[in-house]
Amino acid sequence: MIKSSDGLKEAIAKIGKQGGLNSRMSLRIAEDLADICERLATSKTNVEKERLFRTVMGQVGRRLKYSVEDTLDTICEGSYPNDLFFVERPVSIERNKYETYIRSLVSDPFRYIIGPVEILAEKSKETGEDKFFPVFTAFHRRLMQHAVGCLKHVFEPLSIGVKRWTAENLAAYDKLEYLEIWRKAICYAVIEILDMNWLLITENTRRKYDYITMDEIDDEVGKALAEREKHSVQMMAKALCLDRKIRETDVRAMRRQIETAIAIQVRMIDEIARSLEIQTAELSSLGFEKLRKRFKCGEEDFSILKLRRDPEVELPAKDRPDLRLDLGALKERPVETVFTLAWAKIVAARLATCPMY
């Protein structure tokens, strides 16, 4: 038995470690619990103690924070957890209302991503409460895995899989706030994909071109192949999230894929924005209008695209969403940003498995 004053913290941390948590997370939980213990011991009245218990158990986002941190650690270790939602009904909300609420939250963005998600309800063995589980089928998981595989080199730091919702943190948002986060997440996600593609494409070509057309890209790809400079072609393929070896006969197909990919992305953001009733002003504030101009995409014509580098509509660096892919920085980001990145993965998954490919 540990006797020192810090012994409680150490002992609690050991529980986490033995259960498979990493050291940092175990220690974080142990510190929190030891602090609670201290506050409990020094509370003078029962009212104070009661308040402490209520406050602690209702602490918003604490477990979500643990979960996100643990997931990040897992990513650093090279494995990818699967996407799971854990939705527990707050006792104060009737089952029917809650189920409707959860369905609206879950199915709305998914309608455009992987279709409606079945929701099961089961009784918790521990509490007897109903829990609602959006069920990710084998198809969904395969889709995610495929996307992660395809996009690993581009989106690796986005592969945040576990979102864990408890009654506490779910109740922390009202529906509008919650949807607002999702709407923004989707906007940022699509913009991130658009922006990243653009930047990577231009990074490989801007040294040679100030003005780019598809034909010129095609020519350049042909030259690169002829010169056996496959590296630049592979980089371009990576920029377009196409993780496959490019053969000479694939060149024209790749050109079509470039056009199709951009068209789909632009169309998707329009559809998503429309379905979520995102206002033009809001999109504009996120830089989408500038992006659309940059890609020369009209609202109606997506089939004929001209990819041009136009300095007049180049998005200034200061206006770009600050979503640099840095795990270290990500850990310091607010939860909303983590959601953003998680959604980016889901949107990317949709792109990667689009039937048009």
């Binding site: 002992a11 050991k14 602690v56």
Partner: protein
Amino acid sequence: MAELVRQQINDFHIRELVMEKARELGGMITATDLDRFIDMVAREFADALPTAAQAHRGSPRRL
């Protein structure tokens, strides 16, 4: 998982350590408060551990 955590709480003498810490601080924890605190510890880990275990396993867990 909750049962495992409770077993570990006993193995690591968390109850005794909580009482000891309270004495060190010159405070007091009643049996009821202690029970609630232990519940809190158990719940905290019971929530966290399956997530971590699943992530490390790398395979989907049907909830």
